[in-house]
Amino acid sequence: MSDTDVATPPATTGPAPKRPPGNLARAALLLLKGRTVVVLVILMILFGTMSGEYLSSSNLIVMTKHVAINAILAIGVTFVILTGGIDLSVGSIAGLASMICGGLLFSGLALPGEGTLFLSVGMVILAGVLVGCVVGWVNGVLVTRFKVAPFIATLGMLYVARGFAQLRSEGGTFPNLAGTPERGNTGFHIIGVDRWLGIPVAVWIMVLVAAAAIVVTTRTPFGRQVYAVGGNERAAELAGIRVNRIKVAVYAISGACAALAGLLLTSELGAAYPDTATTYELNAIAAAVLGGTALSGGRGTIVGTVLGAFVIGFLADGLVLVGVSTFWQSVVKGAVIVFAVITATAQQRLEASLAERAA
């Protein structure tokens, strides 16, 4: 292009002179931005002084393991919420994956001829995650092709997947998942019970999932497109983004994460029962929201979601440890979630006013 087209305006692209915004406002913004960390630290100090055991390394490890399962669910759900959707079916998908894998380990796969096939533990886990992925894909197709509102589509799937989980065993439990050496399917306990370098394997898995999710959301075109779809679907469409494909993908990711979380839970318990992870979807959504993910889409981070899961987990276990009744636990948890959303709104308002002053 010739240079005549932009020759008229002088180059004034340097940084605009900024009036320094109030230090108080900036400090407040910093506090709000880091609120999940702040709350987490406050919780640890609070419960640490109330119970000497709370901050012991063994308790911290146990609590982190509790966090791991919810964090993995929440990471998946975060992808969906970033596109402006919602996934209510993750608890049920976790339960379904649990029952399918439990069945494969306990009674094997009945072949059409005669005999029963027992898959290795690795294959069983893969199968479980794949099932979650497919169920999530169905959610995505309902939302995109059939234009069902995400809330309704995944609410329906919440019942359907839970129903299939119960059908798998006619409502019963698969009590023993240890496997036998003859069948070559021992070792399911590794992911939910064992430790590596003193840290539970489940926690390592959470770290891996979180790391992968961080890379995908921040450093790949797919991740950026997820944010764009949630930020402005029409603009994303016009920018040439395959909006429907992105949406289907996030539900599939959410389903896969849910299945993985369900398997960790099942391995930890050593048994698969159809009510595994009931209502866990709410904890997962709460963690994402606590971590600053906007339900309207386009805003949020994986790191925030993981921190949110830590707050919920450390709060719940702390309340148990200091002997608060389960009823009050529920009250506190609910209040914290609503408070988190209020502070998120405050942060956005403060950011806007600071940006206005800077402009």
Binding site: S2, D5, A228, L238, I241, A294
Partner: protein
């Protein structure tokens, strides 16, 4: 008599109105004209209480009044009929007419009386066959407009503001409306009538006031004016001084559209449109609102399904008709409504610029370090986008710079033909001429440029060739040197019936 004295209104740094003194004569039809962005809507919003002036006073019968909400405007007897319908499609006609001021009887809605009075007012508008219990959403758009008008008639208005009231009405309905206006005038009601349609307001208006760039440029009795005078006042003397005209040689045909048709609910939104854009050429599409210009652009870009017709880029027909396919073929659209269709408001300036070309910035599936920033910075420099930090939220930019961000994204896709839908809408005069310069520069660089404009001065100053659309069809085509304002206005107002005869 209603007077606005020395009224100014600023939005941020933009002067929407500067020291306007406007008088509406009592019991007359006071026509207010001006191009888009001249300040008509702002003045209306101030008069009906939707906005407050930055300075100036409003006088009613000589007495200064504070109109700080639509409610106080109503209390002063000022009613408004908006151009964009503000009806509840999910409620019945009667419920719409009484929305916000439901009649009550012992605490309950008095539906019977509401229905009765609705019937009366509908009859006055020649719509006695309409059942007040019908849902407004089920009505055709013209009748919806009449419901909107009926809503104001229920009030005891002394001053009635009508913002393009006929844009959705058929000729027959316009006649009814004008009869109603005559009745109102007989009742000593003052009418302020905003319209683009010259033939219409010349028929009904008593006084005409012309706004341009936020200033009042003329006020005259209608019978002392003619069409040419009004157009001259609207456009101003010398629009060419503001814009650079592209003067490059034209080359091969880049975009060729043949018989493109987009189906609509009642008639085709785009009706058998054929056009060509050559390399080095800036082609303007002029027309009134609802003429189908935006729909044509959207169809070209694959955002709308076409019923028939072909789109060829560089001689190759692009059959898929999806946004991605059209982007790949070399088309790129800068949409009319930046906020709704162009920008991702939650993202930074940088992320908005590179959004269409993310895959080029990766290595091994991951973004290359700094690649996004460098790419965005290059476009920011090239288009002179004023932004301190690329990581700033896109919403912190001014309208003109936001527009350039959308343009930057489109240009990154290496388009052959750029489609610009009202590229200067809502940007200030300085940014307007910069954007016009950019368009001329693109043409010189061998691109084809197809743009929509509702502003006569702009389209006349920038375009090498102008196509006029009305009712979904191209009704006229002019080269820059044979272009006159009157001819453009006449072609844009042609009725579908006339086209059939052609």
């Amino acid at each position: 008599m209603l007077t606005a004295e020395g009224v100014s209104k600023n939005y941020g740094g933009v002067h929407a109105l500067r020291d306007v003194t406007f008088t509406a004569h009592r019991g007359k039809v006071n026509v207010l004209v001006g191009e888009n962005g001249a300040g008509k809507s702002t003045l209306m919003k101030i008069l009906c209480g939707a906005e407050r002036p930055s300075s100036g006073t409003i006088r009613l019968e000589g007495e200064a009044v504070q109109i700080d909400s639509p409610r106080t405007a109503m209390a002063h007897g000022i009613g408004i009929i908006h151009q964009e319908l503000s009806l509840f499609p999910n409620l019945s006609i009667a419920e719409n007419l009484f929305a916000g001021r439901e009649l009550r009887q012992r605490g309950f809605s008095d539906l019977q009386t509401q229905r009765g009075r609705s019937k009366e007012v509908l009859a006055r508008l020649g719509q006695s066959h309409l059942d007040p219990d019908r849902l407004v959403g089920e009505l055709p758009i013209g009748q919806q407009q009449l419901v909107e008008i009926a809503r104001v008639l229920l009030e005891d208005v002394r001053i009635l503001i009508m913002d393009e009231p006929t844009s959705a009405l058929s000729n027959h309905e316009v006649d009814i409306l004008f009869t109603v206006i005559g009745d109102l005038l007989a009742d000593d009601v003052t009418i302020i009538y905003i319209s683009h349609k010259l033939d219409e307001f010349r028929r009904i208006g008593d006084h005409v006031t012309v706004l341009r760039d936020g200033r009042l440029v003329a006020h005259e009795r209608m019978d002392r004016t003619d069409t040419a005078w009004i157009v001259r006042q609207m456009v101003g003397r010398d629009p060419d001084s503001l814009f650079t005209r592209n003067r490059s040689e034209t080359g091969e045909t880049l975009l060729s559209v043949d018989g493109l048709t987009v189906a609509g609910p009642t008639r085709a939104l785009v009706d058998d449109v054929s056009l060509q854009v050559r390399a080095g050429e800036v082609v303007g599409i002029y027309g009134l609102m609802g003429a189908g210009r935006t729909e044509l652009m959207e169809a070209l870009m694959g955002l709308r399904k076409t019923a028939s017709g072909t789109v060829a880029v560089k001689g190759r027909v692009e059959p898929a008709g999806t946004v991605r396919a059209r982007l790949a073929a070399g088309l790129a659209l800068v949409p009319e409504d930046r906020q709704r269709d162009g920008l991702v408001q939650t993202m930074s300036v940088r992320d908005n610029i590179v959004l269409s070309t993310l895959n080029r910035l990766t290595r091994g599936g991951l973004f290359r370090r700094g690649a996004q920033r460098q790419t965005a910075q290059r476009k920011v420099d090239e288009l002179a986008i004023k932004v301190g930090d690329l990581a700033l939220a896109i919403t912190s930019l001014s309208g003109g710079n936001q527009q350039k961000v959308v343009l930057a994204r489109a240009m990154l896709t290496d388009p052959v033909v750029l489609l610009l839908d009202e590229p200067t809408r809502g940007v200030d005069v300085g940014a307007k001429s910069q954007i016009a310069d950019l368009m001329a520069g693109l043409a010189q660089a061998g691109f084809g440029v197809l743009f929509i404009s509702s502003e006569l001065a702009e389209v006349m100053a920038i375009a090498d060739r102008v196509l006029v659309m009305a009712a979904g069809r191209i009704t006229a085509e002019f080269d820059a040197d044979e272009l006159t304002e009157e001819a453009l206005v006449a072609a844009s107002a042609s009725k579908p019936a006339m086209e059939v005869e052609e």
